[in-house]
Symmetry: C2
Subunit: 520 residues, 2 copies
């Protein structure tokens, strides 16, 4: 695998997706897609670097090359990709620094404070919420701090089952390093192949196996961050009653409070067996009830994912077979562990699902899902090429509120796009469950209108208003960035905002860290 992320789209260019005839047919017939979308340009011109040479000389390993600046331009949301396709590179950093130690990060921050540089911590560059775009006004330049040189496994404690990593290690490399010792982290979000552990922590990432392994914020037992006012560390024990949990203040801080330089995470033995199977339910309501029963009463699965009728019909759960879906609602359930344990849980779950109306579909769809689980972003690039607008959004709420959240968000998305003469396909699945609630993940596809950025913006605003009105959170695992700030401000309230600003002022008094991101 080519590990360098393509700057104009997702991932490794050699793995680019092509659309099948059935998908092309669907785009034309169901969505009215007629003309191709704007292509990815061969190159983008950049403004000259604004950071003076004498300041650059203070930044250690730093690059102002065109290629480096372009590859640190924004994240990977559909709006980010549309801006590239429209030729807009205005947000590119002026330079890219690559520190190789905690002290190196502290030194960089000191220079940034003195010379008024906005600092954007950069891990895998996979943000989908504008988390990598800093305010430029009032700054002498924007410096991306690329953490790829800080990607070591610092230590591993097999007794406590913890491992300490530097923040720049990507998902596959972390798994490779742990596997040498017989362990796994078990954190597999869709961005897994490119995203870093520091990014997982800074954005409260949740992986596809979160039912079994937990969210990333549950996996972090200790952390260290470099801030403009010094070093902050937290986590002397798995849990403590020593005041507020400061780990949980730095997790989700999106580079606005400090740069995470070390993370100690819970690890587990590599499972003997991985078993994924699918079930079908008559409708989303019946499937949701079954899913809730498993989440609340067990047996605890490792993966649990329920597609609504639309997503099941379109077969998006199997990107390689789009358009070949079925009726009802498909539930995917997976178990990992020892052979005995997986067999016992699988059997108990089968009894429970059958009693709640489920029909087994066997392991075929489960294995297909597992094989294609990181492929969807490649498909998006191909759909954008073909003239479709495609984007996702997600939320979470308590079980009793989810039906309302589902209905109103779906309706808001449909209405907002129908109003623009681009009736969409809106698909949804539940992919992260808790005893008290779950997340909803929507995928929206429509024909690109004349101004696809404004088109999506209207739909996203309508959906965000709807989920907030229903009492759900603006994001379950994508974070706030710049895109979610208005709803975030409302969600935490004026006192919550005041608290965040007070913490920010303490750790970053001159406001150089990711300005414009997270803090309303």
């Amino acid at each position: 695998m080519n590990t360098t992320m393509r700057w104009g789209g997702w991932g490794d260019p050699d793995r680019a997706a092509t659309l099948s005839d059935s998908i092309r047919g669907l785009l034309g017939q169901a969505l009215g897609v007629e003309a191709p979308g704007a292509p990815i340009p061969a190159d983008l011109p950049l403004e000259p670097c604004r950071i003076p040479a004498d300041v650059l000389a203070l930044l250690g390993d730093v690059s102002t090359s065109h290629a480096d600046r372009l590859s640190h331009l924004r994240g990977k949301s559909t709006p980010d990709l549309l801006r590239i396709r429209s030729g807009d590179a205005a947000d590119a950093p002026d330079a890219v620094a690559r520190p190789d130690s905690h002290q190196g990060v502290l030194d960089l921050l000191a220079v940034a404070v003195e010379h008024r540089l906005a600092v954007v911590p950069f891990g895998g560059g996979t943000s989908v919420v504008g988390g990598l775009v800093a305010d430029r006004e009032g700054f002498a330049g924007v410096l991306a701090v690329d953490l790829s040189r800080m990607s070591r496994l610092v230590s591993l404690d097999p007794v406590s089952r913890t491992a300490t990593f530097e923040p720049g290690v990507r998902g596959p490399e972390a798994e490779r390093l742990l596997a040498e010792h017989g362990f796994t982290l078990g954190h597999f979000p869709q961005s897994f192949e490119y995203a870093t552990l520091g990014g997982f922590a800074a954005t409260r990432s949740s992986g596809q196996s979160s039912a079994g392994y937990g969210r990333f914020d549950e996996l972090v037992v200790a952390l260290r961050a470099a801030t403009p006012t010094g070093t902050i560390e937290a986590g002397r024990a798995p849990r403590s009653a020593a005041g507020p949990d400061l780990r949980q203040l730095l997790l989700g801080s999106e580079g606005a409070f400090g740069i995470l330089t070390e993370l100690t995470v819970r690890i587990r033995p590599v499972p003997e067996v991985r078993h994924y199977e699918a079930w079908t339910f008559e409708d989303f309501s019946e499937g949701t009830a079954a899913m809730r029963a498993v989440a609340q009463d067990g047996p605890a699965p490792t993966v649990l994912r329920l597609s609504d009728e639309y997503e099941t019909a379109i077969g998006l759960s199997r990107p390689g077979a789009l358009g070949s879906g079925a009726g009802g609602c498909q539930l995917l359930i997976g178990f990992e562990g020892t052979a005995d344990d997986v067999a016992a849980r699988q059997s108990l779950a089968a009894d429970r699902l059958r009693a709640l109306g489920g029909e087994p579909l066997g392991t075929g769809p489960g294995d297909a899902w597992a094989a294609g689980r990181f492929a969807a972003p490649y498909l998006r690039d191909a759909l954008l090429d073909a003239g479709a607008l495609v984007e996702t959004l997600e939320t979470a709420g308590f079980w009793s509120t989810l039906p309302t959240v589902y209905e109103t968000v779906r309706e808001a998305l449909v209405d907002a796009l129908v109003e623009q003469d681009t009736p969409p396909l809106v698909l949804c699945h539940i992919s992260h469950v808790y005893p008290t609630g779950a997340s909803l993940y929507f995928t929206v596809t429509a024909a690109q209108g004349p101004d696809p950025l404004a088109q999506w913006d209207a739909a996203k605003r309508a959906a965000s208003d709807a989920l907030a009105a229903a009492g759900a959170t603006i994001t379950h695992h994508h974070a706030i960035g710049r895109d979610h700030k208005p709803w975030y401000a409302d969600e935490v309230g004026p006192l919550g905002v005041a608290v965040l600003r007070a913490v920010k002022s303490t750790l970053d008094p001159t406001g150089i860290l990711n300005p414009g991101v997270l803090i309303p």
Copy 2:
């Protein structure tokens, strides 16, 4: 049960413990206890209330009665009880207010800001870390805000399995209210019979069934607090990626950031079956390894508790049978749930424990433990009467550090008390486990010296220094209060302290909330 807490000791006077001859013999022979300790005085004189009548008139339901002020004097640590026995009532609040609503608390706080009253939120009054003693200097008076009138079950959501409570509801009443709907909270700390849900949240309490039900900070899914600058709320979903988790900033805030006025907690169906059984291991090291295996690889127990050789020998796990212990180390394991599920887990656990060197002792010791699980504080009063000094302390760390923490804390306690010519009995158990670590809970008994307060202070300081040097946390479930502040400051570091102060300044700019508690 008499639900009014005895002001001079623990709990219901009708349930006072008496010491058996075997305990009295042990005190004399093993510890050199000769003379009885200072008794609980029949009454204590109080300074006149300092709050002027015109200010009192603004406080709604408020009392300055001798009985009310005395019953809100400090918490229930051994030093607190020794101060009472020495006739020291200097920390009594000037008045006790009893608000009955969130708005009522906001109104009280406004009066307190305007008239410079120090405010001590008061739930069950069971703090053992000085969490109920406010700085008096610079204040016109100290006002205890007793939350006993705010003890309602506000709502219950059986679908999401959550319940919303006011903060002043005590453990047994919360369980009674939930049981009417077929649910349980499952939070059973030793203080259960008197402590309140607000107190559990403010101190990050952990119950004896934490292995199965989780710590209280894991049970809270949403909360509301009244602060001098307004209302703050958090928790729209079980989990969210919307910035730092502000719930975790208010949990453990010990009344220094605000007064919790509403808590939404996770609830579970009342278990069909509760099964507790005991096992014996050759030594603490073997028992700890077995305990870790169960904590890391399952099957998940509801209760898991391992006594060291000393605690096993003394039989403190069965307060009614003190002195009748045995050799080796006793492990208690409990399962709650459906009959099938309990049977399955019990059988798997038995296989695992046997393979790791355990010998089964049957359900007798388990049932005895369950019957006496809230009785230890009664025993302490009787021991203090008899002239013994008895107190507990606790910590937590990662599994690989626990042996060092155990050895060095034990040694520090023994050395510090031997140096004072009062060689102690030091007992220890592990009673809260996580995949990555566990807590250690020490019980120390010695003959009272001439100045038992100074005597314990020296032992506690030595133990706290030792556990901090070994890298453990200053408290796993007792909180910071006033007693742990020096070690807490070191644990969170200067930047952590600065963050806490910044949050405090934002929510409580005039510093009226529990001044002197928590914030270093």
